[in-house]
Structures are given as structure tokens and as C-alpha cells.
Amino acid sequence: MPEILNMLIASVIPLLFILVYAVVILWVEIKVASHVQDRLGYMYTGGFHGWAQPIADLLKLLTKEHITPANSDKILFTLAPFVVFAGSYAAYAALPFTSTFIAANLNVGIFYIIAITSFVVIGILMAGWSSNNKYSLFGAMRSVAQIVSYEIPTALSILTVVIVAGTLNLQEVCQVQKGGLFNWNIFKYPPFMLITFLIYFIASLAEVNRTPFDIPEAESELVAGYHTEYTGMKFAMFYLAEYANMFLVSGISAILFFGGWDSPFGEFLSGPAWGVFWFVSKGLFFVFLQIMLRWTLPRLRVDQLMYVSWKVLTPISFVNIMAVGLWAILK
């Protein structure tokens, strides 16, 4: 019985985290956006810099009417948000928040994450297809093509880390990097791991459809992409899933390249509790980076997007993986 309870608690914790994080980051995003564009953004709701605005938004979404477009595929239309959210949430099971807390300590952790996040792709396609809307379908197709294309550089850069770490278990990946800043993967085999990280980071931006790779929901062409027809809570679920994904890829960046829950100062400020702090803050840092990038870089065209993936990132990844491989043996 306690075992079950433990498991249950362990699997609810990430959900709570996501909810809190989403609300916060919603606010942060708007604020960052505003400040980048030299304006203030939310200022009224709740007082200090409109801190209650996201909560108000949430309440608003809760009370919104659901509109199911005519002639849509109703079952798929309803199912899509489930799939999308489940896909991104289930990936959290393998994230080690700290050295003692990981919901499911899989020996194939990173592999599992790659696998389970493909659910999102299916969800997006379902949403786009069932909406009976051209823009949705375009958005979904583009989104899928993009995710699928960038899956390759992502997987290859993860592979590089796996070579270095010698394990697929994310907890062990962190263990390997334990012991301060310079044990982190990012500093190994200079400059190859740095390149690996850059590739991963760029590709992960595309994976979560963030600018400069937000073709699928390019407002000026496609209205809102695959979730054009979604309203109310269903829409909110897509939104939530997107934010969850943002943190997911950032967290993986942190784990793979920046030691995960490891303190940058070696033994100093380390321990399970500090581990959560380090992991979350590293993750949030990359989320912040993503937000910053969104408001600084223009959007790529579809052909440029494909070009970057297939003709830049993939070949570099290949070379990179061989270089790291060779170095790893020669050492």
C-alpha cells in the first residue's frame, strides 16, 4: 500500500510543478517580451506588474465555450489534447529532479523520452487533421515535418552524450558529471561537446516549435496552426503541453550537458534539496533563453528550416559524433 502511495505521489509531483511553472512562465514570457520591445506588459491585475494576470487568463479559459467546428472528426478532435499532453507529461517520469528523486528510474531513460515525446507528434497531427481546417492541417503537417526533421540532430547529439556517459539512464548521466562545473559534459572534449550542445539546443527549439522555428503556428500565414479551431480548456491543454515541453527540453539540456542536479561548485551547496534547486534553475535558465530568443530572432522560412536541419545540423552531428568517438577511444 505505501508503495502505491509513494508511486502516486511521485507521479503527481511533476504535474504540480508544471502547473506552477506554467503560470509563472506565462507571466515571465509576457514580461520579457514587453521589456525586449521596450514596453511594460501586464501592469494592473493583482498589483505588482500584473502578477495575477496568468491566473485570470486561466480562469477565463475555464469559462470559455467549446466550439467544435462543423464536419470535424469529433473523436479525434477531442482526443488530440489528451495525446499531446500525455506525451509531454509522461516524459517527465524519467527526469531526475534530484539525486534521490526520479519518478521512474529507467535504464533506458533518454531513449524512453525520445520515444514518448513522439506522442506529441501524433497528437498534433490528430488535431490538425480533425479540425477540418486548411490552416490547421497545414500547420500540423509542417509541425510534424519540422519535429521529425529535427529529431535527427537531436538524437545524434544525445547519442554523443551517451557515448561520453556510457549509459542511457538519466540519473547515471548526472552521476557521471558529478563534482563541479568542469566535470560537466559541456566542457569535455572541447569544443565538440559545446558544438553538440548547440546543435541540441537549436534542434530542441524546433522540436517544441519555438521561434525561430515556429512555422507551424506562424500567425501571419496560418492563423494559429494546428490549434486554430481549439477553444477553451482544450486550447489550454495545448498551451500547457507546449510549456511543459519547453521545460522538458531545457531540463534535458541541463541533464545532458550541465550536470543536471549537480552543483557547479562541487560539494558546495550540493545535496538532494539543493539538487532540485540546481536542476530547476538550470532548466528555467534555458526556458528563459528560449523566451529571449523568441523575441530577438525572426522566423525562418520552411525551406530554410529544412535546410538548417538536413544540410547543416545533421552533417555537423555526424562529424561531431565521429570526432567525439575517436577522441574517446584515443584517450
Binding site: M7, A10, S11, V12, L15, L62, T63, K64, E65, H66, I67, T68, P69, A70, P81, F82, F85, A86, Y89, A90, A93, A94, A104, N105, L106, Y112, I116, W129, S131, N132, N133, K134, S136, L137, V144, A145, V148, S149, I152, A155, L159, V162, I163, G166, T167, L168, E229, G232, M233, D303, L305, M306, Y307, W310, T314, F318, M322, G325, L326, I329
Partner: protein, 144 residues
């Protein structure tokens, strides 16, 4: 190990419950007054034109195909990468051979312009013309 996967199942169940819960809560407090105008699909305010379920560009398929090749490759590479350091140089050579063969395919796809999103001209004419062209394929005139 089974237990670990049960946890994942739990994650999935929780996420489904969460979404379902949110939707149910939503159901009780939201209005529900559909009408034709509302349920028309959104095309920037214009009347919708044509069937949205169209055939999409062949490019998507090509991308999927190339993805498939690499993804499959990655599946093989992961187990290899895990024990890479134990195997040493030998593993490296094996991987190079393996990768070279794949890269050959990659180079081929590149050279045949299958990695371009916009190809300069369509590879095929319309179907009707295509059939004609096969009929007179000996005449060499029609580019297929």
C-alpha cells in the same frame, strides 16, 4: 523493472485524468450555445472554400522517408553507444563502416535534391499527360 514502467503508466493515467478533469470542470462552468456561424471553420473571416482534407505536398513524404532512415539508424546506434567505451577502437571502426553506408544514402539523397524543400520543377506532369507521355515514350520529347 516492470515497476518502473508501471510508474510510467501511472503518469499517463494521471495526465489523462488531469486533462479529463479540466475538461469536466470546464463543462460545468462554460456556456454552450452553438450556432452555424460559430461552428463554421475559421478562415480569417471569409467563407470557407473547398475541402480542407486535401492531398499534401510530396515533400512531406520525402522528409518522412529520410527521417525513417536516420531514425532507424539511431535505434542501432544507441545500444552501441552505451558500451562504446568498453569496445574501444574496434567499435569505432564498425560504427564508421555502418555510418559510411548510411552517409552514402544521405549523400545520394542530397545529390538527388531530395533534401531541398522546393525543387526547381515538378518531377511529374499531371497524370493525364503522364499517361500520354508513356504512350509516346519513344519520341523522347516529353519530359517525365
Amino acid at each position: 523493472m516492470l515497476n518502473e514502467f508501471v510508474k510510467i503508466l501511472l503518469f499517463l493515467i494521471i495526465s489523462v485524468f488531469f486533462v479529463a478533469g479540466a475538461l469536466i470542470v470546464n463543462r460545468f462552468i462554460r456556456p454552450h450555445r452553438p450556432n452555424t456561424e460559430k461552428s463554421t471553420i475559421y478562415e480569417c473571416g471569409e467563407e470557407p472554400v473547398g475541402n480542407p482534407w486535401i492531398r499534401f505536398n510530396i515533400r512531406f513524404y520525402t522528409v518522412a522517408l529520410i527521417f525513417l532512415i536516420f531514425e532507424v539508424e539511431v535505434v542501432f546506434l544507441f545500444p552501441w553507444a552505451v558500451i562504446y567505451k568498453e569496445l574501444g577502437l574496434f567499435a569505432f571502426i564498425e560504427m564508421v563502416v555502418f555510418l559510411l553506408i548510411l552517409i552514402l544514402g544521405y549523400v545520394y539523397a542530397w545529390a538527388k535534391a531530395d533534401l531541398e524543400w522546393d525543387k526547381p520543377r515538378p518531377r511529374y506532369l499531371e497524370v493525364s499527360k503522364l499517361k500520354e507521355s508513356f504512350m509516346e515514350s519513344k519520341s523522347e520529347k516529353v519530359e517525365i
